[in-house]
């Protein structure tokens, strides 16, 4: 095969023992290291490196237009990367493999500092890596759950209840939903359950489950290190409810440092199916990255 490469994108194999497959997207003209961190975009669940609805490709290209080098790669056993044998827990293997990506980018002179991006389980892998590796200076965590170990059943049940409540509350305010309800096209039994639940509960649920101590302390150390984090949640994601049940109460204190920002994108689903929501998400990430650009460059000079 000829192996010719795009001026701004090229295919990569890196890491050991079995190589990981990735695509490197670089700004159109890179005279040399520009002091910016490189962005590394991590797999969302089992989808390969293009991401849900090709979102990772869109984000990488937009970031490159804004001056950032971006690497999308497949964890071992996902997409084109072969499975590796290991006795380590999956979370630890993910952290090590992101480390291999950073090693590769450092040794090839692309960057010394890194910003991690991930959706859903990719956000969790980004969070875990940020906690373990000082080379990470920023993390855009989209619909991540950030729950270490096994999440308590109680938390998941409450989160599911939360997303159902929000859905039906929205439906009750929607003229279309009422029209569907009156025409028999709505799941009126579920709506009825919600209404009864609200009446029985008075002002509604204010349940809150304490975050696992380890997770909360890790957030604090990330902010102190410092690592800039952007948390993005879709209105339709269960991750929003787990966030509200766990981290939200700590956020005012963490946000006051200027190192943590939280954004909720209304009227969108967990994987940003609609094009407007994809554009909105990519804009949000890139605007955040551009706003942090000077800070990251100054950290690189230290």
């Amino acid at each position: 095969m000829s192996g010719r490469s795009l001026p701004s994108e090229r295919a990569l194999l890196f890491g050991k023992p079995l190589p990981l497959v990735g695509v490197l997207t670089e700004p159109p003209e890179v005279p040399g290291p520009n002091g910016l961190p490189a962005a590394i975009i991590l797999n969302a669940g089992m989808l390969h490196r293009v991401g849900p609805n090709r979102l990772h490709v869109k984000a990488a290209r937009r970031l490159a237009r804004d001056g950032f080098t971006a690497l999308r790669f497949d964890f071992s056993g996902i997409g084109d990367s072969p499975a590796r044998e290991s006795d380590l827990p999956l979370e630890r293997r993910r952290v090590d493999e992101v480390g291999e990506a950073m090693d590769f980018l450092s040794s090839s002179g692309k960057a010394e500092k890194f910003v991690l991006l991930g959706i859903c389980s990719g956000a969790d892998a980004a969070f875990d890596t940020a906690c373990h590796d000082d080379r990470v200076v920023g993390a855009a965590l989209i619909n991540g759950f950030h729950l270490h170990h096994r999440a308590p059943e109680e938390l998941i049940d409450l989160a599911k209840e939360g997303v159902r409540d929000r859905y039906y509350r929205r439906s009750l305010l929607s003229r279309d939903s009422w029209r569907r309800f009156l025409s028999g096209k709505s799941d009126y039994r579920a709506v009825g359950r919600f209404v009864r639940g609200q009446v029985g509960r008075g002002k509604g649920s204010d349940a809150q489950v304490a975050p696992e101590a380890g997770t909360e302390s890790e957030w604090r150390s990330l902010v102190e290190r410092p690592v800039d984090s952007l948390l993005v949640y879709s209105e339709g994601s269960l991750a929003l409810d787990t966030y509200r049940l766990t981290l939200e109460r700590t956020v005012p204190e963490l946000s006051s440092t200027g190192r943590l920002a939280v954004e909720v994108i209304r009227k969108t689903d967990h994987v940003f199916t609609l094009l407007w929501s994809q554009d909105h998400l990519v804009n949000l990430i890139c605007e955040w990255a551009l706003a942090e650009e000077r800070t990251w460059i100054s950290w690189g000079e230290r």
């Binding site: 490469s5 879709s234 689903d269």
Partner: protein, 266 residues
């Protein structure tokens, strides 16, 4: 396995070359033609597995992303049927040139199947074609996409009316389709084709829509050898709200395809 970029007619294309991994490499290249949009995302794992099966049997295999799809240059809103067929042709030339294989087989799933048929007709040098649950009627395919899209949004938080300014693009489960592509699909009908894509054709279906039976009848007598296989298997290309569904691989279908290709090129 070698991931790389190569030049296509409308931009750089991403491909993965799987060299023969048997002691006796064959003089045959197999080009795998993905479906589009959400169906592409969902079938990636199955194509990787199929490529591995074929390379272990000694074939040179190339998986590639069309322009505007996967890792290739461009956006899906810019795609046209003509451009995608040209991409298949460029991938075929790349595989022939890079591997030295002189005989070619195209394997296409869903819309990739329809594109493989037309690419085979236009090139005239394709020896065999595998059509896996191919799209036969483009207009019906569009309706199907629209219905899946609406079904996915129904009961979700996603609101098409939101967003700044709105968009006029046709949206199909997270992917835009431009006007030219919509027009191309509206007029796509494999039953109107009067030339054969290759001497040997394998039509394999996991589900049995009447379209596939009509295509079988249409191809019968037109091609030198036609085999039809009905192998019940999950439609892995359909988006489901189930994380495990993303990992499904229809192994019986893949085995049938690789065995047929082996027989066809004995």
């Amino acid at each position: 396995m070698e991931p790389f970029y190569f030049r296509g007619p409308s931009g750089m294309l991403f491909g993965v070359y799987h060299p023969p991994e048997s002691r006796e490499p064959r003089d045959v290249g197999v080009v795998l033609c993905y479906p589009l949009g959400q169906e592409y995302i969902r079938s990636h794992r199955a194509f990787l597995r199929l490529a591995a099966m074929l390379s272990s049997k000694g074939f040179h295999v190339l998986r590639f992303d069309y322009s505007g799809s996967g890792d290739s240059e461009g956006d899906s809103s810019e795609q046209t049927i003509g451009d995608l067929i040209d991409d298949i042709s460029a991938a075929t030339d790349e595989l022939k040139g890079g591997s030295g294989a002189s005989r070619i087989c195209l394997v296409g799933l869903r819309l990739g199947g329809a594109l493989s048929v037309i690419a085979g007709i236009r090139r005239g040098d394709v020896d065999a074609v595998v059509l896996w649950d191919p799209v036969v009627d483009g207009a019906a395919h569009l309706k199907h996409l629209k219905s899946l899209h609406e079904e996915w949004l129904s009961g979700s938080f996603a609101d098409p009316a939101s967003g700044s300014g709105g968009s006029n693009a046709f949206e199909a489960l997270g992917f835009p389709l431009g006007g030219p592509m919509l027009a191309d699909l509206e007029s796509l009908d494999l039953l109107e084709l009067r030339e054969k894509p290759a001497d040997e054709v394998f039509l394999v279906t996991s589900v049995e829509p009447p379209d596939s039976v009509r295509l079988k009848n249409h191809l019968q007598g037109m091609v030198g050898s036609l085999r039809y296989g009905r192998i019940p298997a999950p439609e892995v290309w359909i988006k489901k709200d189930d994380e495990m569904a993303k990992g499904l691989v229809p192994i019986q279908v893949l085995e049938a395809i690789s065995e047929w290709i082996e027989e066809a090129f004995q």
